[in-house]
């Protein structure tokens, strides 16, 4: 919406071109139901004076998949950290789950999972949680405890990689785009050098080197390898933003280069940064899992979801639960972060706005006519 006050003739409301691609579905106009009316009301409100943050927030919570994913992810975080407790930096808080991930118990019933979700009236044993809901491995580790600990480690790695690579990518991109010239050329050639090495190759080599120093160090190192994409995107955004009037205004007011870069320009590039960091984080889960699977990720005695699968990959036919549970958690976490990223992209990018239906277009045209009158 370039100029909400421009009096467009009602025959051509702005939302019209969105439906252009439905050229074969002629006459498929449906009556608006209550949901649609509510949604349209929110959409209409966007032309009232709302702050950028407010608009983004409203659009985000309207993206149903993203909102659900947010709660799923939150649930997994709470579950993983409460079940196995926290054991980091010398602080040890025990969790509510009876076994720890290092506890070796007796193998009961071949280590089969005791979790059952088939209710009794369907002929199943009822909804049972049991002693080892996700089963046990061949020497008696509780799989639930291991998966929870692995989830903790994976989440920790994902967030650390997200933070580290965002900081590096943001700073390099901002400096490169802001100063241009030689500094830009040098920084972008460095980025090219890192980008040409396949990410899995680079991280596998780094993981082989630093994997035994603990998962936190590994996470930082992975972050040092995966900032390149963001740096390029931020650079191209900053290149455009630095020519805008508000930058000139800030300079006239006497702001330093540093201040202009980080206080005036970067907040305007926040959309690109947030969205790509999210997508990077979902890619990191898969990367960590792949590294764990190749044996270059987190090393024993610590575990991550990828490492659990690596450790038990030969047991697929005999103990499939050692494969399915960690895999399912990887997929769920990656999926929810992807959906959140998608929701954020829709929220930040006005071009990706959802289609308005006919009623909304008419409403909007009426609102516009009122505003111009």
């Amino acid at each position: 919406m370039s100029n909400p006050l421009s009096p467009l003739p009602p025959e051509f409301p702005e939302g019209e071109d969105r439906d252009r691609n439905n050229f074969l579905d002629e006459g498929g106009v449906t009556e608006p139901n209550a949901d649609e009316v509510a949604e349209n009301a929110i959409e209409l409100k966007e032309i009232e004076g709302l702050s950028q943050g407010r608009i983004v927030f409203r659009r985000f919570i309207r993206h149903r998949a993203a909102l659900i994913s947010m709660f799923v992810l939150l649930f997994i975080v709470v579950l993983a950290f409460s079940a196995e407790g926290i054991d980091a930096l010398g602080i040890v808080i025990p969790g509510w789950w009876q076994w720890t991930y290092t506890h070796v118990g007796d193998v009961i019933n071949g280590g089969r999972p005791t979790l059952s979700l088939v209710p009794e009236w369907l002929g199943g044993p009822g909804i049972v949680w049991g002693d080892h809901p996700f089963g046990q491995d061949d020497i008696g580790h509780d799989t639930f405890a291991q998966v929870m600990r692995g989830t903790q480690q994976t989440l920790m790695i994902v967030f650390v990689v997200g933070i580290v690579s965002t900081i590096i990518g943001m700073v390099i991109g901002a400096i490169s785009g802001f100063f241009r010239g030689t500094i830009d050329a040098v920084l972008m050639r460095i980025t090219d050098v890192v980008i040409i090495i396949p990410l899995l190759v680079l991280t596998a080599v780094l993981g082989r080197t630093y994997g035994n120093l603990g998962s936190f160090v590994l996470a930082v190192v992975l972050g040092l390898a995966s900032w390149t994409g963001l740096a390029r995107l931020v650079r191209s955004d900053v290149l455009g933003l630095r020519e805008r009037e508000f930058v000139d205004a800030a300079r006239v007011a006497g702001a330093s280069n540093f201040r202009i870069m980080f206080v005036h320009i970067l907040p305007n590039a926040i959309g690109v940064i947030v969205v790509n960091t999210t997508l990077l984080m979902s890619a990191t889960i898969l990367l960590e899992a792949a590294l764990g699977f190749l044996g270059f990720g987190v090393q024993a005695p610590d575990i991550s979801l990828g490492k659990i699968i690596f450790d038990y990959q030969t047991a697929f036919t005999t103990r499939p639960w050692l494969f399915w549970w960690p895999g399912a958690f990887i997929v769920i976490i990656a999926l929810s972060i992807n959906f959140i990223g998608d929701g954020l992209r829709d929220a930040f990018d006005p071009r990706q706005k959802r289609a308005l239906n006919r009623a909304a277009r008419l409403d909007r045209a009426a609102a516009r006519a009122r505003a111009s009158a």
Binding site: R20, I196, I197, L206, V331, A334
Partner: protein
């Protein structure tokens, strides 16, 4: 143009060398290459350590050792290409020789298929935005996007590979499977074709019904043990393809183009029996040669029919010739299927889950068709597992890009001046929407290489990915550098191709800088 390309190439080569330095130093510091000897209990331990140190120049620090390696690489200009030796003394060039072709085969097949299918899915979902079909495809691509490739590979190996082999023991479908597939097919087609409720119902009924009938026939006739298309099916498919291709490229109103396409299809069917007759003497190159010949015939027919737009007819003819040749070759492969699947070496379990080919098969037969089938059955699962992940992202990107293009002013202009929907989509939208996708494909190659490392490990291919994985576990620098040099060069090549594609797709881009 040439200046631009040579400049780009030079810059990329410099970047590649800088990156190789980084990889060399990082890899050399990744661990102790003598670890296994230090902990060994062999009596001649010191001697072995000295031997390996001498072989790999371990007494030189890595930052300098790189230049020993580099001098070997640069010897390529005097004809003595040398990539150093692996830990066991084998020259890396020798190791790469066997590994490269296997991996490149895998990567290229997966990339090409991902591009073609990704574009198809992306365009159809963009044209049917917010339809049921769009939502299903979007959900699935999110799912595949979030699926670790090894997870997918293990599942494919277990359920598709072994499952399909089990299915071949008794290749019949249960009734509920037929009904389920028919319902899914009906749903998918009505989503793609679209229209009002009545038209959707008719589409769903036709698509679902024909799918069900075909499956029932295949099941009852035991088709999976002795598959073939036969001349009748090829004729039907050929004419169908001819009509479809001319409808998409020139429009059915262009009679010359339609006549060209149908004539080419008829010629294709006419040479079916002669082709089958000589097929057993053919090799890979002669089959490719015949394919080129077929395309040439297609162009010639189009040119002779001529009409207002000779180029258009020639293009339609060439595409139809390609389609008919494809059906014929598929049919010929199918005819060899029974011999292949029931041979002693394969033993009725044709879908391979380990390795890039059945061992010893090339000693028994030299038939192009049998060996081709063997490669196909072994490529199938690794390619799918490599494909699905990139397919998910390609289809998403091409959908977004087509939607973006469809909202441009020039599309509005094209519609406003009264062009038909086909012309707007095929001429104005399709080509422009390819531009952003080119970038993604070139950029994504690194990801595919990573995927190949995992896929090869799971499916036991002795390609470059496995070479890399094994070498990194024992910190053997030279094979890793060989791996990086090959994949890095291919990545540089892909980027150059992407640059060329830009200029071909968008005439506004002038590369005379």
């Amino acid at each position: 143009m040439l200046t631009f390309l040579s400049r780009r190439l030079l810059a990329s080569v410099l970047v590649l060398f800088a990156a190789s330095y980084l990889v060399y130093v990082l890899t050399a510091n990744a661990g102790d290459p003598l670890e296994d000897l230090r902990t060994s209990t062999a009596r001649n331990k010191d001697e072995l350590i000295a031997q390996r140190t001498a072989l790999l120049n371990l007494d030189t620090p890595p930052a300098l050792r790189y230049f020993i390696w580099l001098s070997g690489v640069l010897k390529v200009f005097i004809g003595q290409f040398d990539l150093g030796k692996a830990r066991n003394g084998q020259p890396v060039t020798l190791l790469l020789n066997s590994a490269v072709s296997v991996t490149i085969q895998l990567l290229i097949t997966a990339t090409l298929l991902a591009i073609i299918l990704g574009l198809l899915i992306g365009i159809t979902t963009a044209l049917r935005q917010y339809s049921g079909y769009d939502y299903v495809v979007t959900t699935m691509s999110f799912f595949f996007f979030s699926l670790p490739s090894f997870f997918l590979a293990v599942i494919l190996k277990q359920y598709v590979g072994i499952g399909f082999n089990n299915f071949l023991q008794d290749p019949t479908f249960a009734l509920w499977v037929i009904v389920l597939v028919a319902v899914i097919a009906g749903f998918a087609w009505q989503g793609i074709i679209g229209g009002d409720g009545r038209r959707r119902l008719i589409t769903a009924a036709i698509a679902g019904g024909s799918t069900g009938l075909v499956m029932a026939y295949l099941s009852l006739a035991g088709w999976f043990n002795t598959p073939s298309l036969g001349i009748v099916v090829i004729a039907v498919l050929g004419v169908g393809a001819a009509i479809l291709i001319s409808a998409l490229t020139a429009g059915l109103a262009n009679r010359k183009s339609l006549q060209t396409a149908v004539t080419v299809a008829v010629i294709g069917v006419a040479v079916y029996y002669p082709f089958i007759l000589i097929s057993r003497y053919l090799t890979l190159w002669s089959v490719l040669g015949l394919g080129v010949l077929a395309i040439g015939v297609g162009i010639l027919v189009g040119y002779l029919f001529g009409g207002a737009d000779r180029g258009q007819s020639a293009r339609t003819g060439a595409l139809t010739a390609l389609a008919v040749s494809f059906f014929t070759v598929i049919d010929r492969f199918m005819q060899s299927w029974h011999t292949y699947a029931t041979s002693d070496l394969v033993g009725g379990r044709p879908i391979g889950t380990v390795g890039a080919g059945t061992p010893n098969l090339s000693d028994v037969t030299s038939s192009f068709w049998i060996l081709g089938l063997d490669s196909f059955t072994h490529l199938l699962l690794p390619t799918i597992s490599l494909l699905l992940v990139s397919l998910a992202s390609y289809s998403r990107y091409s959908r977004a890009s087509v939607l973006d293009v469809l909202n441009q002013d020039y599309i509005r202009t094209a519609r406003a001046k009264g062009l038909g929907e086909r012309t707007v989509i095929m001429r104005h939208a399709f080509r422009n929407s390819l531009i952003p996708i080119t970038t993604i494909v070139a950029f994504d190659f690194g990801g595919l290489v990573g995927g190949a490392i995992i896929t090869e490990t799971i499916f036991g291919w002795s390609g470059m990915g496995k070479l890399f994985n094994d070498a990194l576990h024992i910190v053997d620098v030279n094979p890793i550098m060989g791996f990086f040099l090959v994949t890095g060069s291919v990545a540089v090549l892909f980027n150059l191709l992407a640059d060329l594609a830009y200029t071909a797709l968008d005439p506004r881009i002038r590369v005379t800088v």
